[in-house]
């Protein structure tokens, strides 16, 4: 039984594996080129474990950023994690000893694998979610270390492989769309973000988008709960 939970969690995370190994490797290479070797790559992927933040982190470190700038940038780049956590408050409530790590490991990709709330029948949901979280981080750490060690010596072109992350989110959006007749939340997310992307541009639309999504869903609440 335990064995089959591990297997099911592993299968669930396979789609993340390719993307994490490649993006992690990209980070490892970038960091290496900036003059920081494998231990730095390993430590950052282990302790920070936030993809886009680590990429930004490389330029913070090499650019001589202050502690204040670094802290502020971290909050701006990672504010969306507040969002993930808020929507998991109830679901992670009874996770016990697994809970701290599950919260620590709540990346975009782990979130998208777990946010539909489904877990295999008969499995301890907390243990299953813990395993999914830890498999994902292991790919990320492995990728960063490999990137740092092997650098750019790859036998084939990986150009375009970063699309696997986009594909993961599109697949999970489609799956979620088919599983319910209520498309208002999904459309709210899609359209609010699109509007903010047009208004604010690709570098600063994310926080306005999160605020707009929360505002729209909050305004819809009384109407939706009466219905």
């Amino acid at each position: 039984m335990q064995h089959s939970i591990v297997k099911q969690a592993f299968i669930k995370t396979v789609p993340v594996m390719a993307g994490y190994v490649v993006l992690g490797a990209g980070f490892g290479i970038l960091l290496r080129n900036a003059g920081y070797g494998v231990l730095w790559a390993f430590a950052m992927s282990l302790f920070i474990y936030a993809g886009s933040m680590q990429y930004v982190g490389v330029s913070l470190i090499t650019g001589g950023a202050s502690i204040f700038t670094t802290a502020l940038t971290t909050v701006m780049v990672n504010a969306r994690h507040l969002f993930y956590s808020i929507s998991m408050v109830d679901r992670y409530k009874d996770a016990g000893k697994y809970k701290p790590y599950m919260i620590f490991g709540l990346t975009d990709e782990t979130y998208s694998l777990l946010c539909d709330g489904k877990t295999p029948e008969g499995a301890d949901p907390a243990y299953y979610r813990f395993l999914v979280s830890i498999f994902n981080q292991s790919y990320w750490v492995t990728g960063s270390v490999l990137g740092s060690l092997l650098g750019t010596v790859l036998p084939f072109s990986t150009e375009g492989i970063e699309f696997s992350m986009t594909a993961l989110f599109i697949a999970s959006f489609t799956g979620q769309w088919m599983s319910t007749g209520d498309h208002i939340p999904a459309l709210t997310g899609l359209l609010s973000t699109l509007v903010c992307l047009v208004l604010f541009g690709p570098d600063r639309f994310l926080i306005p988008a999160m605020l707009l999504i929360t505002l729209v869903l909050t305004l819809l609440r009384s109407r939706r709960e009466e219905a």
Partner: protein, 103 residues
Amino acid sequence: MREAVLVAVMAVGTILLRFLPFIIFRKETPPYITYLGKVLPPAIIGMLVIYCLKDVKLTVRPYGIPELIAAVCVIGLQVFRRNSLLSILGGTIIYMVLVQAVF
């Protein structure tokens, strides 16, 4: 040394953001947060789809066509086969072929 401090700041900052909602709502979950927990996930996934595609330039060659074709493949596979792994692998391979060999 300075680098290690910056890495620590990034790590602690990220951890705080992830833990904060759990610390604030550790006792009773307010109904509003329960409501958000229900409606946010589909909205956030929608947001992430746009986030991933934010740098696609529709006015410059190849006009976002590889992304469009690959996205349609992912959606099609997901609708007709309902296998996420297949949808993601299929879409990614098609995208890689498109950007490397076609466009």
